[in-house]
């Protein structure tokens, strides 16, 4: 079996003279480790790392989580204010939403969100103490409502509550993503996809009537 360098020489001779720029260093000259003749063909499959992760067996982000246990307790209480349990589905904290928010704000690209959440949690406890002499987690439901009402809608917020409202806005967005991507959340909405179907269904006559189409 001819070696690689000889094969290239043979191929070069077959196609005629090559210009000077075409000189090829052998792999050994390029400092590569020796390659076995007839090396096995490369296999398909992910090579790992953020650019080429294993999509079949995904895992939550491996980066260290940054929120303290105290912060998580306050965050958990706020998550359940935003999405409480009702007759149809559980509360946000019951389905792991605080841990999801911790994953999100602990990612390198979300440093602004981390600051906003940490600052907001601190602010929330300050505001709770100011109004009721207790931290947020120890307020009653009736006491939590006036605080949240003051920060729940940025376009109508009073200037002194602007930072609180930005914090609430971010947390609500994160709670919604965390909750509605769980099985309980998807069931609550009535998402029935992600299953194989033998046939794609036509829209029912009843729904067509509601839409006003024939």
């Amino acid at each position: 079996m001819i070696g690689r360098r000889q094969a290239i020489k043979a191929a070069a001779a077959a196609v005629g003279a090559l210009p000077i720029l075409d000189a090829t260093l052998s792999e050994a000259q390029q400092g590569a480790p020796p390659r076995q003749a007839g090396a096995a063909a490369p296999a398909a499959g992910p090579r790992g790392g953020p650019w080429d992760p294993d999509l079949i067996h995904p895992r939550p982000g491996p980066w260290p989580r940054k929120l303290s246990s105290g912060e998580l307790i306050t965050l958990s209480a706020l998550c359940d204010t935003i999405i409480p349990a009702d007759e149809k589905s559980p509360s946000a904290s019951a389905v792991g939403v605080p841990a999801w928010i911790n994953e999100y704000v602990s990612h390198d690209s979300n440093q602004n969100a981390l600051v906003r959440v940490r600052g907001g949690l601190a602010w929330l406890n300050l505001e709770s103490n100011r109004r009721f002499g207790r931290p947020y987690v120890r307020l009653t439901q009736a006491e939590r409502i006036p605080i949240c009402d003051d920060i729940c809608y940025l376009p109508k917020v009073r200037p002194e509550f602007q930072p609180g409202a930005r914090f609430f806005d971010l947390v609500r967005d994160l709670v919604a993503v965390g909750f509605y991507t769980t099985r309980e959340g998807m069931a609550d909405l009535g998402y029935i996809g992600n299953v194989a179907l033998p046939k794609f269904p036509e829209v029912s006559a009843e729904v067509r009537a509601r839409l006003g189409v024939s």
Binding site: A11, A41, A44, W51, T81, G193, A196, L197
Partner: protein
């Protein structure tokens, strides 16, 4: 077979650079024609059958599957080692220009995550300059490419419907597959469009809605080639029909959607005539003293060493800009401006698609019963351009048209769900948030225009004089400018969508842009970059002839979007494949006659 290097002792007839739409089609057609083909692919070997996450949920992915720098289209998107950034492979943009360049580094390239929209260019699109005096004409017309559109649609499988509409070619009977039913949001959009005089019809997408009859189709496509019939029939019979779940951007493990690694490369490999070497980054084409291509230099990325592969013919299909880059980097004393660049046009007349979109909230879609919106994993319906006559009469203020893609409804909850809902609920939280979420879920629709750009002198790519990538290859520097034809078109798009949303009784989410320059997506953002080595009738004003053959290097061809003369409002991939097929037929014929 897959190899780590070209097979010693094999005299390859053709090297194909790239394994995507054009490269995959060329590799298949040349291999079934009996030629010995070496495919060099910059990315790793990739297999949708074993690698596609078909049912994995956002909750199990990092950041609930949200886009990151390394996975910009989301965690589960099929793209490997790329996106807007490719590690170790930068590109630059000139001051004052904004251009974003999407690259994947994987077997099959961007056919693994594309939108699958497969529209034929129409007669107007081949002769735009003759029609309105702008841009340039193709050196062929619809009649020349129609047989290749027919065969490509039959081979890859495309669903859709015929319309009889102007410049919106229909397929022959029995070619298109049945389109999927319209979903509730689509029924409502259709009704609104009808009232506005906008045609709304089934989208054309490269997804099997029924299984292929391999023997019958292969006989129809390759009546004179028994080898092709055998490998193609077997490949077709191994594909399943769509089962109405899983976003196509993830890829498709059941081979219902078109990806080069599941539809073109397997039958190519089954001929025994095709070798694929992945992890091979081509740097330049080598030429002999007579100016004929002799092969390519490429970097074996795994050992980081330079190698040289040789063949009688070289076909470039590295994607529009990468192909131009290879030619520009193929400098010799004879071709000091790059190979095949006597016209000076390599890199010039870069085009992308004009994109602009808005979304709306539609009360009539609230509180509907559950419905399977996943569907065919992409759009079911679209609106072809409908203002040809008014436009030609100068009534619109911009010269070319756009089609409209749209969707919405009860899709899979993911990152971003209910973002902005507070604007519809006055800041609801608590039990009221849950009630509002149930009410508003599924009531949002989105519209995206996809329009034609006029090629211009200010939009092009060239080699950056200072920067090389991690393989030592000079990188591209992009120049980009939209003209008023494009920005006015983008404004027309969003104004039209606002009308449709209004006609549906809905409310635009956010505000409608009032300036086209604010509405239009950045150059490159739509990922349809074409035109850098355009075809033509005259070697002074083009790089290639109508066969994708270099005017100056007879045994060098281009089989990707670089050859495009215009970028119609018909997504390029179907045309790339049809043209690659036509180029392959010509190449085979020329080789047989000894004219290469």
């Amino acid at each position: 077979m897959f190899l780590t290097q070209p097979q010693a002792g094999t005299n390859y007839d053709v090297i194909v650079v790239g394994s995507g739409a054009g490269g995959g089609m060329a590799a298949y057609q040349l291999a079934v024609a009996g030629l010995k083909v070496l495919v060099l692919e910059a990315g790793r070997r990739y297999d949708p059958v074993t690698e596609t996450p078909m049912f994995q949920l956002p909750k199990d992915a990092p950041l609930r599957g949200a886009g990151t720098r390394e996975k910009p289209f989301g965690f589960y998107d099929a793209t490997v080692d790329g996106g807007w950034d490719v590690p170790g492979e930068p590109y630059t943009t000139a001051p004052g220009s904004t251009f974003r360049w999407w690259r994947a580094r994987m077997l099959g390239g961007r056919t693994n995550h594309w939108g699958l929209i497969s529209l034929r260019m129409g007669q107007y699109d081949f002769k735009p300059r003759s029609r309105d005096g702008l841009g340039a004409d193709w050196p062929l017309d619809y009649a020349d490419l129609a047989p290749y559109y027919d065969k490509t649609e039959l081979l890859i499988g495309v669903y859709g419907a015929d319309t009889g509409l102007e410049n919106t070619p229909d397929s022959p009977p029995g070619v298109l597959l049945p389109p999927p039913a319209a979903r509730p949001s689509e029924l409502l959009v259709a009704k609104a469009c009808k009232g506005l005089g906008i045609p709304e019809t089934a989208a054309h997408r490269a997804v099997l809605t029924v299984r292929q009859n391999g023997a019958a189709l292969a006989r129809r496509i390759h009546p004179d080639n028994a080898l092709a019939r055998r490998v193609l029939a077997a490949s077709m019979n191994s594909r399943a029909a769509c089962f109405w779940a899983t976003d196509c951007g993830r890829g498709c493990s059941i081979k219902a959607s078109f990806q080069s690694p599941t539809v073109l490369l397997p039958p190519a490999l089954a001929t025994g005539n095709c070798h694929i070497v992945p992890d091979a980054m081509v740097r330049e084409i080598t030429v002999d003293r007579a100016g004929r291509a002799t092969g390519v230099h490429y970097i074996d990325k795994l050992t980081r060493t330079d190698r040289h592969a040789t063949a009688r013919v070289v076909v470039l299909a590295a994607s529009g800009c990468e192909t131009a880059r290879i030619l520009l980097n193929s400098k010799t004393s004879r071709f000091s401006n790059g190979l095949s660049n006597g016209s000076g046009l390599v890199g010039k007349y870069l085009m992308d698609t004009v994109g602009a979109g808005i979304s709306g909230q539609i009360p009539t879609l609230e509180n509907l019963p559950p419905y399977h919106y996943d569907g065919a994993g992409g759009i079911h319906r679209y609106m072809p351009w409908w203002r040809y006559q008014d436009q030609l009469a100068g009534k619109l203020g911009f010269a070319r048209g756009y089609h409209v893609e749209y969707g919405g409804g009860k899709g899979m909850p993911g990152p971003g769900i209910f973002g902005g809902l507070e604007n519809f609920t006055d800041g609801a939280y608590g039990k009221r948030f849950k009630e509002e979420a149930r009410r508003f879920y599924g009531s949002f629709v989105w519209f995206d225009g996809r329009g034609e750009m006029i090629p211009n002198e200010d939009s092009y790519c060239e080699l950056d004089p200072d920067v090389v990538d991690q393989w030592g290859i000079p990188v591209l520097r992009f120049h980009w400018k939209w003209s008023e034809h494009e920005t006015r078109q983008a404004l027309h798009m969003v104004q039209t969508f606002a009308q449709i949303i209004d006609a549906m009784g809905g409310k635009v989410v956010g505000t409608v842009p009032t300036e086209g320059a604010r509405a239009i997506a950045a150059g490159g953002q739509i990922i349809h970059e074409v035109g850098t080595c355009r075809m033509g009738d005259d070697p002074r004003t083009s790089v290639l002839n109508q066969w994708g053959q270099s005017w100056e290097v007879k045994n060098l061809f281009v089989a990707d979007g670089a050859s495009f003369v215009s970028n119609a409002d018909k997504n390029p991939t179907l045309s790339i494949m049809a043209l690659a097929w036509r180029t392959s037929d010509y190449l085979v014929e020329q080789l047989k006659r000894g004219d290469l």
